[in-house]
Point group: C2
Chain length 254, copies 2
């Protein structure tokens, strides 16, 4: 008897963003673990147990799911977006490394999903069309100085930058500070995209510039893309503009 732990990416929002592999994994699971609102996105299936937990309890959730799988069950941990990007896959790996030997013997299957920056980029055009990076603004698990250093390095080297976890109730000032750091390297005219709840019925997309971004509201459901010097905006009559970063660099950009 050997269990399996699946870590399943739900994509950005509604079921349209789910892959066939993710649907299949969710159907196969005997038990589902996850943050409550993510579990609510998975259609109920008879005989499938559900174990919702709070957003902040990633490690405890991973351990509970591993214990369950180690009893021989087919268990899925669900994750918004892609489980590998600032989400549950790393928590599961951390728990396995620190846990009993039996957890290392389990079959682990990670099912990728559409991560927020890809969903927001697709709505806006192709802002990630050239070299880019992803930075979490959460300083719960890393020092703020390191985040500032990475923002500065990324802007200086000409990367487009996707900002995950820009704001939470406990972290009200970090986004403003991050935009200030970026403003030291980038022009005020640099295109900025704020995508909130993209893929859900209440989605919003805001296209603005760096010098106007500080006044805009954001929360944990917001993903922000900061353009590079190369990023361009195409105005379209009667339609929202397209934002894209060309594949070609005309000049050394930074």
């Amino acid at each position: 008897m050997s269990g399996r732990l699946m870590v399943v990416g739900l994509g950005p929002g509604d079921a349209g963003g789910l892959t066939r592999d993710a649907e299949e994994a969710l159907r196969a699971a005997e038990a589902l673990y996850g943050y409550g609102p993510y579990l609510d996105r998975v259609p109920a299936r008879e005989g499938q147990a559900r174990f919702p937990s709070d957003n902040r309890e990633e490690r405890g959730r991973a351990e509970a799911a591993l214990r369950h799988a180690a009893q021989g069950a087919d268990v899925a941990v669900v994750s918004g977006g892609d489980p590998g990007v600032f989400a549950m896959a790393a928590s599961v790996c951390e728990a396995i490394e620190a846990g009993p030997d039996a957890w290392r013997a389990l079959e682990i299957a990670i099912i990728p999903g559409i991560t927020a920056m890809l969903a927001v980029a697709a709505r806006a055009g192709a802002p990630l069309g050239h070299d880019f990076c992803a930075i979490s603004l959460s300083d719960n698990l890393k020092p703020w100085e390191l985040i500032e250093r990475r923002l500065d390095a990324a802007a200086a080297a000409g990367f487009v930058i996707a900002l995950y976890n820009p704001v939470s109730r406990a972290r009200p000032w970090q986004l403003g500070k991050a935009l200030a750091v970026l403003s030291q390297r980038l022009s005020g005219a640099t295109p900025i995209i704020l995508g909130r709840a993209v893929g859900r019925s209440d989605e919003t997309l805001t296209i603005t510039t760096l010098d106007r971004a500080a006044g805009l509201s954001a929360d944990m459901a917001t993903l922000i893309i900061v353009g590079s010097k190369e990023t361009r905006v195409i105005a379209r009559p009667g339609r929202s503009p397209l934002v894209y970063t060309p594949r070609a660099t005309e000049r050394v950009s930074a």
Copy 2:
């Protein structure tokens, strides 16, 4: 009569990686444009025209598809992985910006997909669990000096690095040079993942270290993930190791 241009991400390989939205878009399209081997992955549908083109003809393909949509048709351009990451969405935006006004009036719908780095990361564990970047090693459209500068900046700032387009017949030396640049910043023990054709029946996954990576073969179907100082490898008896980057930074890593 108004046409629509969809740019559809097929994900990494087989149909399991396709989202429902992508399937729906492919069904709705009257005409499909794309690189031949990508079109071959889309099931045939009666009455749906297909226009395969060579890998290097992105701009011409985008223009042909836009001309077709501007005649009032529902046209899809297919893209491997995610269309927004070193793929067709930026080519379409470039063509729109340079093209006739009628192209700006078209409805443009970009359907995201699982990009290669997410697929490879999922097979290996959670190497992208912390801040990371994506760099194309192709110097067809940007100067090699800029690529070296970005590699150096990313490694110095502690990003995990996903390398797209590592090698082609016309670009045989770039990967070796890139690994040499990274070796000036990173220990030889830094974990490296080479994923080839991940999501396809002939997929291979190689987990090694930076000091051994130069000898390994790679091609245009290979995606390489270079760990940071924080990236860890969990050995598992009878299973391939898990590679992950913890969410927490124990110390300022670089």
